[in-house]
Symmetry: C2
Subunit: 428 residues, 2 copies
């Protein structure tokens, strides 16, 4: 790993640049799959599943028998761990549900907001080597708490037409309505348009490869909402001279093992810390099962010496990290000044893994500097807020003439008229 000492601000850009993404334009293939699924429905899904997943399925829907078998196959220990995580995620997310608060903005003018569920949501969980059942908890639990009526999960089958049991177990536990053995672009297309067997949804959530994220972007143009734009995962750790180098290195590596394109940046205020952290990274990396992936990610990564705390904070906000670990003693100097980050982990005993699995916060977070303008997934993501207002006779009398004047100044006579008629009726 490269160590950069006190980089001048004009060079920060080169340190905080994200790894360059492949610029493949997948639009043509994605549009073709969407059009076919829209026109042919299940027939197209069957063909694509055979072609891409090598599975010959006559029925995409996971049966109750398959779910029961999955549940039996999981260890009691793992089920208990999942139950603990579920409880914490429920506690944290249910605290975000807001009650209506009626505001009298002017005499007789009552206004309020109420949260309502998005009625139909789709969750996508990738297949592959790591069965991301934790992401089902992160997306399924808040959608259930929000009151979403239809919660549809798509996840690709293996060539035998099977889905990982931990995924099925987590899905039924959180209350997913329907699970379909569908992956890739065809799954996102099915959720967008609906087919004979798959219901369409209003918003699609979840991670995926470049085809899936491209498909979600395309779904957006077809009138469906998505959770957020996607990019490779990333972590910034700020370590002071008291931070244990082994802890810091383990956090950097837990991010690095996500994928070849993951990025980690470590900021410290002494060169001794950085040297010790680098040595720990090398030692721990050597024994990791996913060391190939972690090694490439570490190659994208930076060790940066920034001595001044306020400069560190500016550097954090410029990078806008998805995950930020503050392994420092003087955390209060930082917290109120962090403007751009997805999720912040404070102190020596708060690894990113805590939030990835079981502390209760959500792990679906904005990458690629999108933390400048997007929140991570929270209850807002599964709901929308409707405004309500009610004016009494006193209310229209108190603000009516202001409305008339403004409508007239905008040249909208019918807007004015709707008020004038009411005010006149009250004079009779």
């Amino acid at each position: 790993m490269q160590i950069t000492k006190n980089p001048p601000r004009e060079n920060w850009n080169s340190l905080t640049d994200r790894p360059v993404k492949e610029a493949n334009d997948l639009t043509t293939i994605i549009k073709e799959v969407f059009d076919n699924v829209n026109e042919q429905g299940d027939k197209a899904l069957k063909e694509y599943t055979l072609k891409f997943d090598k599975a010959n399925l006559s029925n995409f829907k996971v049966s109750q028998d398959e779910i029961n078998a999955a549940s039996t196959s999981l260890s009691l220990e793992l089920k208990e761990a999942i139950a603990l995580a579920k409880n914490n995620i429920e506690v944290f997310h249910s605290a975000q549900l807001t009650q209506k608060k009626v505001i009298e903005t002017a005499p007789g003018v009552s206004c309020w907001q109420e949260m309502r569920p998005i009625e139909k949501v789709g969750l996508y969980i990738p297949g592959g080597t790591a069965p991301l059942f934790s992401t089902i908890l992160m997306l399924g639990i808040p959608s259930k708490l929000a009151g979403c009526k239809e919660i549809v999960l798509c996840t690709p089958p293996n060539a035998k037409g099977e889905v990982n049991p931990a995924i099925l177990y987590a899905a039924q536990l959180v209350g997913v309505t329907n699970i379909f053995k569908l992956g890739g672009v065809q799954a996102i297309a099915a959720l967008t348009y609906g087919t004979e067997s798959v219901p369409n949804v209003y918003k699609i959530f979840g991670p995926g490869n470049q085809f899936v994220t491209g498909a979600k972007q395309y779904a957006l143009t077809q009138g469906v909402a998505i959770d957020m734009p996607a990019g490779p995962s990333e972590l910034m750790v700020v370590a002071d001279q008291l931070a244990d180098p082994a802890f810091v290195a383990s956090d950097l590596l837990s991010q690095a093992e996500h994928g070849h394109d993951s990025q980690v940046i470590c900021v410290a205020n002494t060169i001794e810390s950085l040297v010790a952290i680098e040595a720990e990274v090398t030692a721990q990396l050597a024994v990791l099962p996913r060391r190939d992936m972690a090694t490439s990610a570490i190659a994208n990564s930076q060790l940066v010496l920034i001595e001044n705390t306020m400069d560190q904070i500016d550097f954090i906000n410029e990078y806008a990290p998805e995950h930020l670990i503050l392994n420092v003693q003087n955390e209060n100097l930082y917290l109120d000044r962090i403007v751009n980050s997805g999720s912040v982990f404070i102190g020596p005993y708060t690894p990113e893994s805590a939030g990835d699995y079981a502390s209760g916060t959500n792990h679906t977070l904005p990458t690629n500097a999108y933390a400048r303008m997007y929140s991570g997934v929270n209850m807002d993501a599964f709901t929308k807020k409707i405004t309500f207002q009610k004016l009494s006779k006193e209310g229209i009398e108190s603000i009516g003439s202001a409305i008339e004047l403004m409508a007239e100044a905008e040249g909208l006579q019918a807007h004015k008229n709707a008020v004038t008629l009411r005010l006149e009726s009250l004079k009779k």
Copy 2:
């Protein structure tokens, strides 16, 4: 207007269909303008402003002298009306700011969310006949309350290089940082990339014609966020037999005067109401200054008899109206059951105009059935929420082994290791 009596559910689709949009593909022209602005900066802006707005400007930024002159030219009456609206909008939106609420999800595990401003936002206000200064209040006031540091307004000049004084007055009143005389695709491109004179922003808000809304969609692909997808404005009114037909007709027309493609739907529980409302629409329409526009919009519109209240509610939720007026006595039967709508106006004295201008709620709302998954603009739109978490030694001990088990089951050994190292250090 067509009256439809008790339509069967399978025909609701045909009544709630939005007017077909022009399917012009503007991508080529939009991409060309974006590329030129990205490469040539102010030079490209100058050329496009001359070409499209016929204004030859050497400087896009509105000067303090121009702002002062605008303020002098407005009537005291109108300024007072704007001040009243501003106050109500501030009261309603500031009540949406949330304080952090620390949740102890497990012993020693503290988690919370905090709101942070989006640091740089861009507001677009169209030119043309109706100077939409009310939209500046609706976008500028919450961005200021949120704490956005840079609030950049773009609005097209007339051929003399001037901007409507009400727009300038409202912009300085709410605290816009910089006002630029820029319109159309080039304005959105400038906000996306930044130029020598225009700063780039992280999120773009505001209405516009098909070029501007296309440009906002394109900006989204360039890494900028936008408020929401756009469509023609729409209103649904539910009237019971006690609703004054003149009030209902005035509300329908206030929506219809927005544009040729606006849509209004009126639902009533008696045929007598519908007949009376139609007669009032005809009478009021005849004397409107914008009757040409309102007449086309009324042609897109529907009068629908639905006698049963629960059926009416299902019809509302299927349409997902941007604006919903409930001009009924038994409002409580409706309110909790409304799931899909942007903003709801309750009772005989709450015209849509109230929320358009001065009640305090926001008038930037989801159209085109997007109310199924998007909120209108509120404080959430100008902020994002960061999650924070801090585990004590007790905290990592209480959830550590669950994290280890789950990480292992997902095949992520480094994630597990970050916890194991900490648990072991506590055993020493």
